[in-house]
Symmetry: C2
Subunit: 293 residues, 2 copies
C-alpha cells in the first residue's frame, strides 16, 4: 500500500500524519504554530523521519488562509496576506515539495475539510454545500456543481460584511483588515476580546451565545442567498458549543422570513445546518484526500 | 434554420422575441407586467401568432425571481415567493409548455444574462464570475467552475445583508422581506423611496450616488469573499449611471483593505468590475441561449 502524508495547517497548531488513509495512520504529530521557519522546519523533520522508514508518495496540505490555490499562479501554495503575524508571503507547498521531494496537493483548510465531508461525511452525494469553521478565525469553503469553490483566489467567506448594531454590541470587532466583518464579530478571538474570556469559559445561558448565533445566522443567510447550498456544515472550536445549533437555525429561518420557500429551510432545517460528520477529523482527512489528488 | 423563442420576463415588462438567434429576430414585442393571467395570456398570444407562420422549436425564459430552477422539483419554472404582488406561486414554464406545445428552457433572468455574457459578452472564457443587475430590484447570478450557480434553489444574492448605519442613512429599507438588505438599501426602488424621485432624476453629483456606490461595494465585497469570481459584471437601469463604476471600484478596494492580494483587484480593477458586454441585450440573448439548451 502506498503511504500518503497529510498536513492540517492551522493558526494554532499543525497536525501532520503518515498512513495509507486517514483511518490507518502509522505516525502522527502535533506541532505548535510559531514562526514559519521553526514550524515548517519541524514539519519537514517529521516527514523526513518517516521517509527513512518508507516511501511517501504524496502529501496533502489543508492550510489556514488566505493562501494561493490557483495552480497557475506563482504564489500557488503560499500564505498570502494572512492576519497571522509573521506568516505573510511565505511559500509553504513549494518548500515541502523541494525539501521532501514529493508531490504536494494543496488547498485551504476549509476546502480540505469540505472535500473530506464530501467523501466520507455529511456532504456525501451533495453537489452544492458550504463548510464553515468557526474557531480562532472563521473560514468557509465548499462545493458548487460538485467542485471545490475556486476562482480568482479562493473564498474567504469568514470576512463577509454583516449588519452590526453598535448600540446593542459596542465591541468594535477584532479583524485587523475589516474590523467588524463576520470574523471580526463572531470568531473565537472576537468572543474572547468582547467578553474578556474564551468562549469555553462562558456558560451556555450566557448572552454571548445568543449574540454569537445572531451574527453566525447573518453570515449563513448571506451564503445561502449567494451560493444556494443544499446543506451547511459548521465545525470548529466555537461550534463545539452544541447549544449554538438550534439558535443559529432559528435565527436563519427568522431572518430569511419565508423568502426562500424550500422544504430544506422551512421544514428540515435541523438537517440543513449540521455539524461535520467527521467531527474534528475532517481537516486531517481532507489533507489525505488532497494527497490522493 | 430552426426558429427559437426568447422571453425576458421582468417585473416591469416582458420582452418576447422569435428568431434564429438574438441577432436575427423575426418578431419582437414588449408586454407590460400586470397580472399573471393578463401578461402570460398576451405572451401566449404573441407566440401563437408566430407559430401560425413557422414552427418554433423551443422557447427560453429568463425570469425575475425567486423562481423554481431545479428541474427535479414540482415547482420548476414557477414564480415562488416573489415580492411582486400577485405573482407568488404561479406556474410559468409549465403553462408556456402546455399552451404552446414546445420545449421550454428556464432560469432566472440574471442567470440567463450571465449565460449570454459567457457566450457572447464580457465573461467569455471565464469559469467563475458574477452577473449583478441593479434595477427596480437587485438580482445576481453567474458561474462557478463553468456552470450556472444552482443549488437548493438558486442564488438570490440581491438580498444579502450588509452594514447599514442608520445615523448616516435613516431610510429603513424597501425590501418587504428583509427591509434593509442590499436590495432594500440600494435597488432603484430604494433610491426612489429614499430620495423621493427616481435615480434617473438625480444629478451625477448628488450624494445619492456616493451612498449607492457604498452599498453596492459592500454587496460586491461579500460576493468576492464568498464566490471568488474572476470578474463582476454589473448591469441594470441603475448601473446605466456610469459615474457609479469608478466609485464602486474605489470602495471595493478600500473596504477589502489589501486583504485579497491579487492583481485583478490590486491593479486591474477597471477590468474586474465592468458593465455587460451585451448592454441591455444580455437578458433576451440569454433567453435564446436557454432555448438552445
Amino acid at each position: 500500500m502506498a503511504l500518503l502524508g497529510g498536513i492540517e495547517a492551522g493558526g494554532t497548531k499543525f497536525i501532520c500524519a503518515v498512513g495509507t488513509d486517514p483511518d490507518n495512520l502509522q505516525a502522527q504529530t502535533r506541532i505548535e504554530t510559531t514562526t514559519p521557519d521553526e514550524t515548517l522546519g519541524q514539519v519537514v523533520d517529521f516527514f523526513r523521519k518517516q521517509q527513512k522508514i518508507e516511501v511517501i508518495e504524496a502529501i496533502g496540505i489543508g492550510a489556514f488562509g488566505p493562501v494561493g490555490v490557483n495552480p497557475g499562479s506563482e504564489k500557488f501554495g503560499w500564505f498570502l496576506n494572512t492576519p497571522k503575524p509573521g506568516w505573510q508571503q511565505v511559500d509553504f507547498a513549494g518548500r515541502m515539495q523541494r525539501e521532501l521531494g514529493v508531490k504536494v496537493g494543496f488547498d485551504t483548510d476549509v476546502n480540505a475539510a469540505a472535500l473530506a465531508e464530501h467523501r466520507w461525511g455529511n456532504a456525501q452525494g451533495l453537489e452544492n454545500f458550504v463548510y464553515l469553521t468557526v474557531g480562532t478565525g472563521i473560514g468557509g469553503g465548499g462545493m458548487v456543481a460538485g467542485k471545490l469553490i475556486h476562482g480568482l483566489l479562493h473564498p474567504e467567506m469568514g470576512h463577509v460584511l454583516i449588519p452590526h448594531d453598535a448600540s446593542a454590541d459596542p465591541f468594535e470587532g477584532s479583524c485587523p483588515f475589516h474590523k467588524d466583518c463576520l470574523e471580526g464579530l463572531a470568531s473565537g478571538l472576537a468572543m474572547e476580546k468582547r467578553w474578556g474570556k474564551k468562549g469555553i469559559f462562558l456558560p451556555p445561558e450566557h448572552p454571548a451565545w445568543a449574540l454569537e448565533a445572531q451574527y453566525l445566522a447573518m453570515g449563513l443567510m448571506n451564503y445561502i442567498l449567494t451560493l444556494s447550498p443544499q446543506r451547511i456544515i459548521m465545525g470548529g472550536g466555537v461550534m463545539a458549543q452544541k447549544q449554538l445549533f438550534p439558535m443559529v437555525r432559528a435565527q436563519v429561518r427568522e431572518r430569511l422570513n419565508n423568502y426562500l420557500d424550500v422544504p430544506a429551510i422551512m421544514r428540515d432545517i435541523d438537517s440543513y445546518i449540521v455539524p461535520p460528520g467527521l467531527g474534528d477529523k475532517a481537516g486531517l482527512a481532507g489533507a489525505f484526500a488532497l494527497a490522493e489528488g
